[in-house]
Symmetry: C2
Subunit: 344 residues, 2 copies
Amino acid sequence: MRATLMYGAGDVRVENVRDPQLAEPTDALMTVSRACICGSDLWPYKELPAAPTGRPMGHEAIGIVQAVGAQVRSVKRGDLVIMPFAYSDGTCTFCEAGLQTSCIHGGFFGIGEAGGAQAEALRVPQADGTLFAPGTAGDDSLLPSLLSLSDVMGTGHHAAVCARVHDGAAVAVIGDGAVGLCGVIAAKRLGAEQIIVLGRHPDRIALAREFGATDIVTERGGDALEQVRKLTRGYGAHSVLECVGSEEAMTTALQLVRAGGAIGRVGVPHYEEIAAGGPMFYSNITVSGGPAPVRAYMEELLADILEGRIEPGRVFDRVIALEEVPAGYRAMDERTALKVMIKP
Amino acid sequence: MRATLMYGAGDVRVENVRDPQLAEPTDALMTVSRACICGSDLWPYKELPAAPTGRPMGHEAIGIVQAVGAQVRSVKRGDLVIMPFAYSDGTCTFCEAGLQTSCIHGGFFGIGEAGGAQAEALRVPQADGTLFAPGTAGDDSLLPSLLSLSDVMGTGHHAAVCARVHDGAAVAVIGDGAVGLCGVIAAKRLGAEQIIVLGRHPDRIALAREFGATDIVTERGGDALEQVRKLTRGYGAHSVLECVGSEEAMTTALQLVRAGGAIGRVGVPHYEEIAAGGPMFYSNITVSGGPAPVRAYMEELLADILEGRIEPGRVFDRVIALEEVPAGYRAMDERTALKVMIKP
């Protein structure tokens, strides 16, 4: 089959690889109906050292189950399924607590043995715990939103949950990428009264407004801080969604949050430490977040998608074939595409 | 009147100072019935540079209102009151949110204009928002527990709340000082099933057990981690109460907490940064806490004290006169006293 491999920074290739096989009785095989490129894929795209055997890429997909191992009970051949970016057994203490990204028998797609989703097909470990069958016929117009549940919408939701967004809250969203925009959807869903997006890309800002952003701050640094203060009666935001992962974004988050507020961070951190000694302590700021247990959120968010209350699939602004994946990476890296959907 | 002043590290004196006066119509004057020495007073006791005019010390007290300014409505002359370590107006957005330590018109006793509580009397700014009248006749045996509400019990409770202690939780408490011990009381109150105290001082451990500690870990560093893992089926604690404030304590907290768990930190941090890039992110650890809004917790905790369900006043293991305060500091610094109560 055809699959995407990264051989180093900027070097993405679509190549012939061995077809995936069932390896464990808990596995499923799925063909990929839709996959996508993640903002987090851009980090290796910028930084990956030479990888002679190629790193399989992609961790978001929806698809059709082709075969299941002998122990798989919850999905069967022919089911449309959503694959979260992490696989999990669904039964361990962390899965039971809704933190599937810490599953004792789990792991992440595109890392280690598990294959990548930017491919024609994929082996899914721990299929019973991992895959979610939405039970819809899969109307094509729904697919982008279903696909968003594999990562980006669940991740935006996780940021909002970790930032303790609540009824009437003033929320600031750092990052106008797909996760940030899904964070806007999530904040609105959770009752935020004010949703301030820090961003400057006109198309993204327009979409943010449609998703529920009430204010846009295009300034950066101290000026951004001043604007957010003005918009929040001088207090800052109750909740800050840090959807970037850079040191600058985290520093900004700590500045924008009001005393007693919370920061939900979901951008893979490219910093080692945060300034936790001074204002974070004296103002009782909570810092929370990490890899989103999107599997835990699928059912809840699906209901809103099926009812038409949210349409996170709108973050996909380009559709490409599998062979075009290298160009898709380029487009996202150059920010000419917000989020690229792959139709293998 | 007599009051305690610190002139530099290790240099505590009880001296004659001008009697406090009402300065604002929102002030109250109170005589101090009981005050105490705080673990946080030991930081300046170790580190304060020479302070030629002397720094007024003490921020915990119960006492009797002697006079009130023209605008004070909630307390009157003769009332027994509990004074939290921070003063607050009780009406601003942060006070309304229960975060009186961030009050817009508030501040901390023993810093700036507000006097210290290790004295015969005290001016209390923002008396309506600050003082809490428990409405009891003030049976002498109750006074230590009432006094604990001015800081140490409320602070232990804040650590537990920030660490999200819940029914059935496995909790680790770092620090066997008075705050850590009150953290044990708080964790038990909030339903913890397992309360592991890291400490080694026999008297403190004995008290911790009486307060509800289920396990004691006397090891440090990697061995402590191994013990806590063993005690928690390999997972670590759901909640860690960091009641010290040292870099080592915070590092230990991040090691002891399980994936998805929370750290509540209330020890004044003597570190600038925390390692937030790696395990804290990938294991979805929440870090929360700061100066406890003890004013917000007084009513709830008082009820348990009056019903005899908790007895935090037992952390006071030495009672001294005001003139003996310098010896009291020495005893706490040398850890021969757990917490010193002052009877002016």
